[in-house]
């Protein structure tokens, strides 16, 4: 499909966005909330833990059959719903021929437990004469046959195939935040190489999961007692478990143009790496990846969307790196949307694409009480918050996104992604959000 005479044909463009989070549903709701609303964490569901919950979604709109909805646990419903939004946004819904050759890469966890069944079994075990036999017996009787499928990681993709008809190919990546980064990286690489023309990429996560709070509390990583913006959690580190669905339709420029799709933003590069998480490794890794793309960034027209989660020391190491780039605006979306692992990067790429398409960033402190830049870069002592001023400076429509990510040990993950304006576009004033995500420690 690539035309040797036209090296833009294999560019990877975002042509569809489907996002749901505690901020609402869709790009407009997210942008409005980021511009005007303070963070709205949930403290009531699992005190003392702080999570971010979804508002009620009308699942029927994207998953018309109740039977399909019943076959899914919440994380799969959220993801199937967000995938439908992305397909709608790209104008693909119902186009069977095109969906039949749309490639899919889903970033997924899984294992959503039946809390009531687990609890009943655990409560009965101490008194059981034969604990092993009791466990087997109860599992046979208490597990719903379909629960397995609603727990299975690749069944989010399976449900998307069934509900939306995406069947070109189907791959599910696991591995927390890195799964989301690598899903987009591989999709873009395949498009660039002519291995794919169009792809649906993303993931989902449910925050109303005590089984996950337990998993993360083994390491003491969940935010509790007191909410604060992610950059201001040094004394009280932790991530706020979030519910989220984020899917993107990414396609080659040639394919998008041939079908008259609206191109939202270009993904110029997606980089990821890992390190062994020795002290300083994250900062060094971010520097190394930044070095691979920095020559393509236009000074003053770059921003970083950070995936910082608020857990030490990854967030602290990211701050060291960001302090070396005081001229770049930084927004850490985790303050508002929380931390959802697999879909975090797709969500932040979606928010970056929205910023690029609008030509501006959301302000670091708009609508926030106290006039404090709650989401801006951590300002070094004696330095102004450049991020805020850049955000308020309206710039022309940026049209490209350069993404980079850094990945370290999955248990302590950091990633970055930057998007910048593209030098090959004619507009004289392009701004570019860029993004940088850092995960948990």
């Amino acid at each position: 499909m690539a035309d040797a005479a036209d090296d833009t044909a294999r560019e990877a463009w975002i042509t569809g966005i489907g996002i749901v989070s505690c901020l609402g549903e869709g790009p407009e709701a997210h942008w409005a909330a980021l511009n005007t609303s303070p963070p709205k964490p949930d403290t009531a569901t699992y005190p003392p833990y702080i999570i971010h919950k979804l508002p009620p979604l009308g699942f029927d709109k994207q998953i018309p059959k109740k039977g399909d909805q019943r076959q899914m646990e919440a994380w799969q419903r959220i993801g199937t719903y967000a995938a439908g939004l992305a397909l709608d946004s790209a104008g693909l819904k119902g186009k069977a021929e095109m969906l039949g050759r749309t490639d899919m890469i889903v970033a997924a966890g899984g294992g959503e437990r039946d809390i009531a069944a687990d609890t009943a079994i655990l409560a009965g075990l101490p008194a059981a004469a034969q604990p092993e036999a009791f466990l087997n017996e109860r599992l046979m009787n208490d597990l719903r046959p379909t629960l397995f499928l609603s727990q299975l990681s690749n069944l989010l993709a399976g449900n998307i195939s069934i509900v939306h008809g995406v069947t070109g190919s189907s791959r599910t990546f696991m591995g927390e935040e890195s799964a989301g980064v690598d899903a987009i990286r591989i999709a873009v690489a395949r498009i660039g190489a002519g291995q794919s023309d169009i792809a649906l990429v993303g993931g989902s996560h449910n925050s109303e999961r005590q089984d996950l709070l337990m998993l993360y509390e083994f390491g003491g990583f969940a935010l509790k007692d007191k909410f604060s913006p992610v950059w201001q959690r040094e004394a009280h580190p932790g991530f706020a478990l979030a519910a989220m669905g984020a899917f993107l339709v990414i396609e080659s420029r040639a394919h998008a143009d041939a079908r008259g799709a609206k191109r939202i933003a270009r993904l110029s590069a997606v980089l990821s790496d890992r390190c062994r998480r020795q002290p300083g490794d994250v900062t060094a890794g971010l520097r190394r990846l930044w070095g691979k793309i920095s020559s393509r960034l236009q000074p003053g027209k770059v921003a970083v969307i950070s995936g910082a989660s608020g857990t030490a020391p990854a967030t602290a190491e990211e701050r060291v790196f960001l302090a070396e780039h005081q001229d770049i605006a930084v927004r850490a979306t985790g303050t508002y949307v929380g931390h959802a692992f697999e879909p975090q990067f797709p969500m932040n790429v979606a928010l970056a694409a929205i910023a690029v398409s609008r030509g501006n960033l959301y302000p670091p402190d708009a609508g926030r009480t106290g006039g404090r830049a709650s989401d801006a870069r951590p300002a070094d002592p004696g330095r102004g918050d450049i991020g805020g001023s850049l955000a308020r400076r309206r710039a022309g429509p940026g049209r490209s996104a350069l993404k980079e990510s850094l990945r370290c040990r999955p248990t302590m993950t950091a990633r970055g992604a930057q998007s910048s304006s593209s030098p090959d576009l004619a507009s004289s004033r392009r701004s570019a959000p860029a993004r940088m995500t850092t995960g948990r420690t």
């Binding site: 008194a127 087997n136 690749n154 998993l215």
Partner: protein, 374 residues
């Protein structure tokens, strides 16, 4: 429990035993062997990325019970008690062990693979997907080599019960070694099993330049997802047929170039019927005489590992010029009038193999492999 047996790998120590622990140990052993045989790179410095198929990971009953006991809540235990106990810091290793990325992370550390390792699941097609991702990366010119692993050590009571509740498992316990009966009329389900397979993939150019011994070639692959049902194939067989045809087209081969089919062949009534239908549709009259034997009759269904394990068997089939049989084949199924290489291995020269892997969620992957071209 209707099914009380499985093909466990109980001779590889994994302590404390858990699905990710054993899956990692099995992957490690397979990768050690593959990397050593390839002679590529240096110890702890593999010159390419890692793609690994692993079972989905979650806290298991052993851990859940330990925490419940430690909570002291006894019969009143709730998840609040489990969380409180977890947060007390006595079970820190559980966190890392039960992260989805932990197996890949440890292997990336040990083997020194490059970049972000990718853990993946396409259910029972996972091992084939890992190979596919490696081939794609090499074709893109991102790397000259890739380490592709499929591993599964996930047999425990709950995982067995889950498959049992879906009526997927054989209940023929007398004896268990004869339970897996792929393509036979009396087949009644698959036998869960554990195992791992690893391949070092390398571009032909790179392999020849360093004088590596080439064990076989991945000529191509195909995929096609099935939107019909979560666990059943589309009754018209189109996704399976499309998947096989995509693989042949990607390899630049025709059905006549294939000398042996290494089927998914689980031994469930549904899989074998639909797979035979798909193979017959693609290969036509020739399907009646084209050898097709199921490795799962002998090793069981190694789930996330199966695609990789069976790719290894396929390569060995070509290299050793011997087709492994479908054992436990006593009652032919008239609906599957094919040459399943019943019960006895057969010597044959095989130029190209197609290996199928299908999984829950409509996952279909076919790999086409061949011998090194002269």
């Amino acid at each position: 429990m209707k099914t009380r047996f499985a093909g466990t790998v109980d001779f590889v120590p994994a302590d404390p035993l858990s699905s990710p622990e054993l899956s990692e140990r099995l992957a490690d052993l397979a990768a050690e062997e593959a990397v050593a045989e390839s002679g590529i790179g240096h110890r702890g410095d593999f010159p390419g990325p890692l793609f690994i198929a692993v079972p989905p990971i979650e806290i298991e009953w052993e851990q859940r019970r330990k925490i419940a006991t430690a909570s002291g809540a006894n019969a009143d235990v709730s998840y609040n008690d489990l969380i409180r106990t977890a947060a007390a810091g006595q079970f820190v290793p559980f966190h890392e062990r039960f992260m989805f990325g932990s197996v890949a992370n440890h292997l990336a550390d040990k083997f020194g693979t490059k970049g972000s390792p990718i853990s993946l699941s396409t259910a029972c097609a996972s091992g084939a997907t890992a190979i596919q991702l490696g081939v794609e990366a090499i074709r893109r010119g991102e790397t000259d080599a890739a380490l592709c692993i499929g591993s599964d050590g996930s047999i425990n009571p709950e995982s067995l019960i889950r498959f049992s509740l879906l009526s997927a498992l054989s209940t023929s316990a007398d004896p268990p070694a004869q339970a897996a009966k792929p393509f036979a009329k009396n087949r009644d389900g698959f036998v869960m099993a554990e195992g791992a397979g690893a391949l070092v993939l390398e571009s032909m150019e790179s392999a020849r330049a360093r004088g590596a011994r080439i064990l076989g070639v991945i000529n191509g692959f195909g995929e096609m997802a099935d939107a019909f049902h979560r666990t059943r194939s589309s009754p018209d067989g189109k996704p399976i047929i499309g998947c096989i045809r995509n693989a042949l087209a990607d390899a630049g081969l025709t059905p006549d170039d294939i000398d042996y089919v290494n089927p998914h062949g689980t031994g469930t009534p549904e899989n074998d019927k639909m797979e035979a239908m798909g193979v017959m549709a693609v290969f036509g009259e020739r399907a009646k005489t084209l050898p097709m034997s199921s490795n799962k009759s002998m090793v069981g269904h190694t789930l996330s590992a199966a695609g990789a394990v069976e790719a290894v068997f396929s390569l060995l089939t070509m290299a050793r010029e011997r087709i492994p049989p479908t054992i436990n084949y006593q009652v032919p199924d008239p609906a599957i009038p094919m040459d399943v290489v019943p019960n006895t291995a057969r010597d044959a020269k095989v130029r190209h193999v197609i290996s199928n892997s299908f999984g829950f969620g409509g996952q279909n992957v076919s790999l086409v492999m061949g011998r090194e071209p002269a």
